[in-house]
Symmetry: C2
Subunit: 187 residues, 2 copies
DNA sequence: GTCTATACGAAGATAGAC
DNA sequence: GTCTATCTTCGTATAGAC
């Protein structure tokens, strides 16, 4: 049976955009209501535990996108360098070229209540594992590969912060260009 | 005449700690009042424009620390690699080994009203310039040095995000170890 | 499921006594 | 300068009609 995009799914997508744009505290119920097109009471109908449930749903939604756009390409077929390039393209799409933020960062700030940040951190760990596997395919030993993967995550998060601060996507784009060298160095 | 630590200066230090720990939105007046030991009315006596003034004062306070602990050592005497190592030590102290946050990141999220984020971004730019100068001293041309400096800032911001997310200062410490290689590579 | 209305608290900010 | 008291606004959340 085909997966129909329910009204809830569309609402979740809109809600996730708000959280990524304004953070947990900044994404007020008014904003979430306006962005999703659902009244406050409708929001509580779909998310009985209120904002916490919305954040959790947003994190799950965003995590699925990371899986599809970045982790799957990394785990796919082809040469390590080619897979990293596909992942870089996926990252660019996922982060809208550097304009969108990362929930790992946003949900670490303010009152975000446990579950949502947990999902985000789990996805980040999965991404790091995927990077590590590619680095090992490229010839690095396990420990070295793990450090390369960590550096990749660090540079992704940092480039997003710097790009946002500078109001330019250039730092993010330059980081994407560095990625193959970080993961598959000397292959 | 000796610079006496006025009550205001101590209050600013406490306020800055709160902003760095909870972000702009999260550092409520109640919290700022409690941390500084000043009642709300006293806060408004020292900071007539309220929270906005407090954030600006906090940013100035923190900026002075960056100047002293990181930028000055970078601009000092000695071999480039040695200066970067001093800066790394300064960064470790400034960020409490990776446990403290960066206002450039925090003030980019939420309702922080212009002036304070501006100060933070200006300090980040000054830091990048200092890194660039050292990289040029180490033999890099201007463009290459600028990119190395940008990467350093990116890795600093990213390592802080990752360390916070993982609840470990290890990623930050490993980044510090990479710093000399980033700035003074192949010297 | 969605609406209107509303409860409740916290936040930022101000007034005026001392 | 600091205090108590107060004001307003906003945010989260709920009740109950439709």
């Amino acid at each position: 049976m085909p997966v129909v995009k329910t009204s809830r799914e569309e609402a979740v997508a809109a809600i996730a955009r708000e959280f990524r744009a304004f953070g947990y505290d900044g994404a007020s119920l008014s904003r979430l209501s306006g962005a999703s097109g659902l009244g406050k009471s409708s929001l509580y109908h779909y998310f009985p535990n209120g904002k916490e449930d919305m954040a959790k749903a947003a994190a799950d939604h965003v995590g699925a996108a990371v899986l599809e756009l970045v982790i799957t390409p990394l785990a796919g077929e082809g040469a390590p360098a080619a897979r990293v390039k596909k992942a870089a393209a996926g990252l660019s799409k996922f982060y809208e070229g550097g304009k969108a933020n990362c929930l790992v960062n946003l949900f670490s700030i303010g009152d975000a209540p446990e579950a949502a940040p947990g999902v985000a951190k789990t996805m980040a760990a999965a991404l790091q594992n995927a990077f590590q596997a590619v680095a090992q395919n490229a010839g690095a030993n396990a420990g070295d590969a793990r450090q390369r993967a960590e550096q990749a995550i660090v540079e992704i998060e940092g480039a997003l912060v710097v790009s946002r601060a500078q109001g330019s996507t250039r730092p993010f784009q330059r980081m994407l260009a560095r990625l193959p060298g970080i993961i598959a160095a000397g292959e």
